[in-house]
Symmetry: C2
Subunit: 337 residues, 2 copies
C-alpha cells in the first residue's frame, strides 16, 4: 500500500533462533507496509553448504552497498580457532559505534521503573584488539589499544546523538585511575568533544562506581559513552534492569552512513527451531533501522504494536512468562498494527 | 574483661573520613572487649609531616609483622604521578585475593532481598599491571597480564573459601570468548582447581552475561572468582544491590596468613571531619578481620550490634536516610553490645 521505491536492506538471520526471529521481522514489516526489500545472506558458525564459508565477501559487500542491514545472533564459540563473527562484521565494516538503548517496557514489570538509558560503545578496538600472546610459559598478556581517532569518533557520535535526541547528559565511563594512559586518552578525547557541546552536561564516572550507581538509581544517567569492553558490560547490566537482552535493541554505526542493527542476545541453540524464541530484540532493532532510514511513521507504528502486545500480556513468549509461540506473538503484533 | 594476651593489629585510618570511621571501630572494639592493640600508621595521599612520606617502609613492615590489619579509604588521584596507594599496598604485601561479601542487611530495604554473594577477586595482576605505553602519537596500549601462578592461587583460595564456608557453587567470571589467551588461562586454572573439589558446583560465566544475571536475579550466584578488573566491577555492582559500598566489607588475603581488611568506599573528602560518615563498611571489615583471627564470639557480637542498629532504624547516618552523626551511630552500636 506504499508507493515509495523500496529500499534494499541486508538481512543476516544468523544462527540458532536467528532464522525464526528474522521471519517474525519480515512478517511484521510486510504487514506494516514497510518499503523494504531484504537481501538475505547466511553468516554464521556453520559452514554454508552453498558457499563453503562462514562469511562471504558478498555478504560484506551487501551491507557496504545497501548501507543498511539487520543482523540476528551469531554464536561465538570459545576457542574454536576463528574469531567471533559478530566482531568480524564490526571490524570489517568499520562499525565504530554501537548504540544500545535500554528502556522500561510499559507493562513488563521489573525491579526498575522508567529506565531510559543509551549506551554508546566504541566498537572496534580496546580490549577487543585480538592481540594476545604468551610471554613465557604460564604468563600471557593481551593488549588493550586505545586510539585518538577511534575515541574522538565515538565521542563525536555520542554527543551528536545526545543533541539530536534531546538528551541532556553524556557520561564517559572509564577506569583512568588505573589505566591512566589508555582510558586517560579516551577521556581526553571525550573532553575535547564535550567542549563543542556546551548545552550538554558532561561528566566522567569510573566504571565500578557507574555499575553501583546504575543498580541503585539508573535515573542518574542518560547517555553513556565508553571503550569497547565497558560497553559490553554496561549494556548487559542495563538490559538486565529492564528484563534482559531479549528486549533490548542495538544498532552499529559505521562510516558513510552505514548502519547494521543487531539483536545482541545469544543464538539460544537449546530452543532453536522450536517456535519458542522471543523476536522482540530483533524487532526493536529493526525499528532502530527504520528510524535510521527516516521511515519514522512505520517505525513508531511497529514500535507501538510491539510495546502494546507485551503490555497487554495476553501473548508473550516463555522467556517473559507467557506460553505463546514465536508465530502467535508475531501475529499478535501484526494484529496491533 | 578478657584475659587473652592482646593481639597486635595494624591500623591504617587513611584519608578523608578514614580517621573518623577508624575511631568508630576502635570505640566499638574496645566496648566489646576485643583483645586487640592497634598499631596505627598514616598511609595516605597527603605527605605525612612526621615522615615526609605517603607510605613508609615501617607501615608495610607493621602488616608483615602483625599479619593482620584494617585499612580505611585512601584517595586515588587520577594522574597524580604516583600509583594508587590502595594498589601499592596490595602489590607490596602480595595480597593476592580480595574477598568481598555482599549480603542484604535486615531492615535496610533495597530493590533486592536476601542477597548473599561472595566476590573473590584476583588482586595483583590483570588489567592492574601498570604496564602502559604510547605506541605512536595517538595510539596507546595497556597490557593485561594473567599468570598461571596467580590464577591458581586465587582459584585455590575461592574453592577453599567455598568449602570452609559451606558454599555450594563457584562461578568463574571471564571474557574468554574475546580474550581467549588471558582469560582462557584464568579459566584453565579454575578448572584444574575445581577438579579437586567435586562437591562444589563449578561454572563459567561471561562477565557481560554475569552482570545481566546479577541484576535480574542475584540468587543465581554464590561465590564468584575472577580476574582483577572484573572483580572491581562486579563487587561494586553487588554492593549496589544491597545499598552501596558504605555497607559492604572486604578483606585482602596474602601469603603466610596475612590479612588486611579494607573498606573499599571512597574517602569522601566533601564530608570529611564533619562527623557525618557511615562507619559500617569499616566496622564490617573489622568483623571480617576478627573472624580471620578466629575471635568468632566477638565478631558475631559486633556484627549483630551493627545489623540490629541499622535494622532498628533509629540511628542511621545521612547516607542511609537518617540524621545521626558518626559518633551517635557508633554509640548506638555500643549500646547494642
Ligand atoms: C558475543 C560477543 C562476542 C559480543 C561482544 O562481546 O561484543 C556480545 O557480548 C555483544 O555484546 O555483542
Ligand atoms: C580505588 C581503586 C584504585 C580501587 C580499585 O580499582 O581496585 C577500588 O575501586 C577498589 O575496588 O578497591
Amino acid at each position: 500500500c506504499s508507493s515509495t521505491t523500496p529500499i534494499t536492506a541486508t538481512l543476516f538471520p544468523g544462527d540458532g533462533i536467528g532464522p525464526e526471529i528474522a521471519e517474525s521481522v519480515k512478517k511484521v514489516f510486510t504487514t506494516a507496509g514497510v518499503p523494504i526489500e531484504w537481501e538475505e545472506h547466511y553468516v554464521g558458525t556453520e559452514i554454508d553448504p552453498r558457499t563453503q564459508s562462514f562469511l562471504t565477501w558478498e555478504s560484506l559487500e551487501s551491507v557496504r552497498r545497501n548501507k543498511v542491514g539487520l543482523k540476528g545472533p551469531m554464536a561465538t564459540p570459545i576457542g574454536k580457532g576463528h574469531r567471533s563473527l559478530n566482531l568480524t562484521l564490526r571490524k570489517e565494516l568499520n562499525l565504530y559505534a554501537n548504540v544500545r538503548p535500554c528502556y522500561s517496557l510499559p507493562g513488563y514489570k521489573t525491579r526498575y521503573d522508567d529506565v531510559d538509558l543509551i549506551t554508546i560503545r566504541e566498537n572496534t578496538e580496546g580490549e577487543y584488539s585480538g592481540l594476545e600472546h604468551q610471554v613465557v610459559r604460564g604468563v600471557v598478556e593481551s593488549l588493550k589499544i586505545i586510539t585518538r581517532q577511534a575515541s574522538l569518533r565515538v565521542a563525536e557520535y555520542a554527543f551528536l546523538y545526545a543533541k539530536t535526541h534531546g538528551r541532556e547528559r553524556v557520561s564517559a565511563i572509564h577506569k583512568a585511575n588505573i589505566m591512566q594512559k589508555t582510558d586517560g586518552l579516551f577521556l581526553k578525547c571525550c573532553r575535547e568533544v564535550a567542549e563543542k557541546y556546551p548545552e550538554i552536561t558532561y561528566e566522567e564516572v569510573v566504571i565500578d562506581n557507574c555499575c553501583m550507581m546504575l543498580v541503585k538509581n539508573p535515573a542518574l544517567f542518560d547517555v553513556l559513552v565508553m571503550p569497547n569492553l565497558y560497553g559490553d558490560i554496561i549494556s548487559d547490566l542495563c538490559a538486565g534492569l529492564v528484563g534482559g537482552l531479549g528486549l533490548t535493541p542495538s544498532c552499529n554505526i559505521g562510516e558513510d552512513g552505514v548502519a547494521l542493527a543487531e539483536a545482541v542476545h545469544g543464538s539460544a541453540p537449546d530452543i532453536a527451531g522450536k517456535n519458542l524464541a522471543n523476536p522482540t530484540a530483533l524487532l526493536l532493532s529493526g525499528v532502530m533501522m527504520l528510524r535510521h532510514l527516516k521511515l519514522n511513521e512505520q517505525a513508531e507504528q511497529i514500535h507501538s504494536a510491539i510495546i502494546n502486545t507485551i503490555a497487554e500480556g495476553k501473548y508473550r513468549t516463555a522467556d517473559l512468562g507467557g506460553s505463546s509461540t514465536t508465530t502467535e506473538f508475531t501475529k499478535a503484533i501484526c494484529d496491533h498494527l
